[in-house]
């Protein structure tokens, strides 16, 4: 059964690869990745273009922005959970955070659309949908993963160092700030990478608030992520057409980016 599981994964990747490769017969790899014109269906005599640079940029931009917001809130909460809360409080708070993880992504998108986008509309952003809104919604989605995994690793270093710190007469909070957090830096980094992976693959919530326009991402402008392109256009792409294969290729690019970040950081952590 284990080998079956392993085989399925290999199969998934091979399959995506097989479906993606035909696109490079018509579009060169460089053009595909660095081009920013996306015109899958022949328009007004302009021909078709397949360049996903804007989508890649949007995916990375939104994910990192979301990460930044999520870390600034989540790490604080993780510190609270691991160093302040009693174990009774923890058994109460963890399920609460799991609850946040259980909310379907469509509901996140729905709330984002009804609360955040309306808010941005009032503050004067055109149509309200923007990269910032997507990043905020995404950061809320990342919070539970970030908090539960990073509080676990903080808990470990707390057990190692907090008592020693207290015995030396150092203020508890100072110990946390200058010993415990730096000591678990590596594993915190690992938690962040896992969360980034999640952020990049997220489709629905981002798609519903980001505005879906092929533009280079700016903080308050519309944009479109790779996953959103696939979800929106798969239904209309003709089976076997270049457009169809291009969407698979976009999916492949998404996987490659995520795996690259994953393994890159893993090796980096090993070297540190």
């Amino acid at each position: 059964m284990t080998f079956f599981t392993m085989a399925v994964l290999a199969f998934v990747i091979i399959f995506i690869l097989k479906e993606a490769l035909p696109v490079f017969r018509e579009v060169s790899l460089i053009e595909f990745i660095f081009g920013n014109e996306w015109m899958p269906v022949e328009g007004i005599g302009k021909g078709t273009h397949f360049g996903i640079f804007n989508f890649i940029a949007a995916t990375v931009y939104v994910s990192f922005l979301a990460m930044l917001i999520a870390v600034s809130v989540g790490l604080g909460a993780a510190v609270y959970l691991s160093c302040v809360a009693s174990s009774r409080a923890r058994t109460f708070i963890y399920p609460f955070i799991d609850l946040l993880a259980g909310i379907p992504s469509v509901v996140y998108g729905f709330i984002g659309l009804n609360v955040l986008v309306r808010f941005f509309l009032k503050t004067g952003v055109h149509t309200g949908s923007c990269v910032l809104a997507a990043a905020i919604i995404l950061s809320v989605m990342l919070l539970p993963y970030l908090v539960s995994s990073s509080s676990e690793s903080l808990l470990k270093s707390r057990e190692l160092y907090l008592k020693a710190g207290t015995a030396l007469g150092v203020d508890k909070w100072y110990t946390i700030a200058s010993v415990i957090i730096p000591a678990s830096g590596k594993s915190l980094l690992r938690c962040m990478i896992l969360a980034i992976g999640r952020a990049m693959g997220e489709t629905m919530a981002v798609m519903m608030v980001i505005g879906n326009a092929n533009l280079f991402p700016t903080l308050l402008g519309k944009s479109e992520s790779i996953a959103a392109v696939i979800a929106l256009e798969m239904g209309t792409a003709v089976n076997g057409s270049t457009h169809f294969h291009a969407l698979y290729a976009a999916g492949l690019v998404l996987i490659v980016i995520m795996l690259a970040i994953n393994f890159g950081v893993k090796n980096l952590i090993k070297k540190l």
């Binding site: 059964m1 284990t2 599981t5 392993m6 399925v8 994964l9 998934v12 995506i16 809130v73 989540g74 604080g76 909460a77 993780a78 510190v79 609270y80 959970l81 160093c83 302040v84 399920p95 609460f96 955070i97 799991d98 609850l99 946040l100 259980g102 909310i103 379907p104 992504s105 469509v106 509901v107 998108g109 729905f110 709330i111 659309l113 609360v115 809320v140 908090v147 203020d171 508890k172 909070w173 100072y174 946390i176 200058s178 992976g197 693959g201 997220e202 489709t203 629905m204 996953a227 696939i230 979800a231 798969m234 239904g235 089976n239 698979y248 999916g251 998404l254 996987i255 795996l259 994953n262």
Partner: protein
Amino acid sequence: MKIKGLLIKLWAYMGIVIIFMVTVFFFAYIFLEGHSVISREFIFEAPSGMVLGSEGGIFPAITGSLAFTLTAVIIGSVPAVSTALYVVYFCKKSRMTELIHTVVQCFSGIPSIVLGLFSYSLFVRDLNFGRCILSGGIALGIMILPFIEVRAEKTFRELDPAMVRSAYALGCTKTHTIWTIVLPACRGELFSGIILGGCYAMGATAPMIFTGAVAYAGNPTSLFKPAMALPLHLYLLVAQGHTSLDMAYGTAFVMMAVILFSNILVTIYARRRHYTWNQQ
């Protein structure tokens, strides 16, 4: 020195308060806006109206979602639990364990939309299943597999090794020990892992947009027919604009209620087991 500590303190309290507020806000918002729509007709009738979904209910979407979730749970949990068992009890080489962990990690890294692409080209197109519950369920099953595997493996590793060792000492074979000691002892945790995985599958839209879920269908009768699903229904209602906004709140309400209910169930179950363990 004092300031650094104070800042961290402030940060910690703010973080936890923000998380609390956000969670409460999400549930309160949906429940407040959605509760007025909920009625017996809404739950038990099919959607209707000039613009689909602006009248009527969501019953086919509920049953459809159930069908998808069940298929996904069956397809995902069996290989997940067996992989976890293999890694913990049968795998001797640490390199093999590492390889499996890497693969599982990659698995969980694959975006759900790409799993949808995979399932579309293989099952819907090449194997000619068409858009159906099975193709969607397989995509969802692959999606929740790593989720369940990680939890199951953690459960097996945390099981008191004394129990397993005593079983070996009494001359039980490995298989016998697993069936009679390990699995029953971990039943609760496995069960909650699978329930949470099911919730995850129920809420996912991306893998089934083009593999199994459709805008309108009757109650699911066969694995080889398409069905409606709650999250996709919600998405379509939202995409239609303001005519069906109330219904969208109602649909979100139902989904949030299911999530809340299963989470409470899992928490209570886990706590009760924890309690009985401590009493012994």
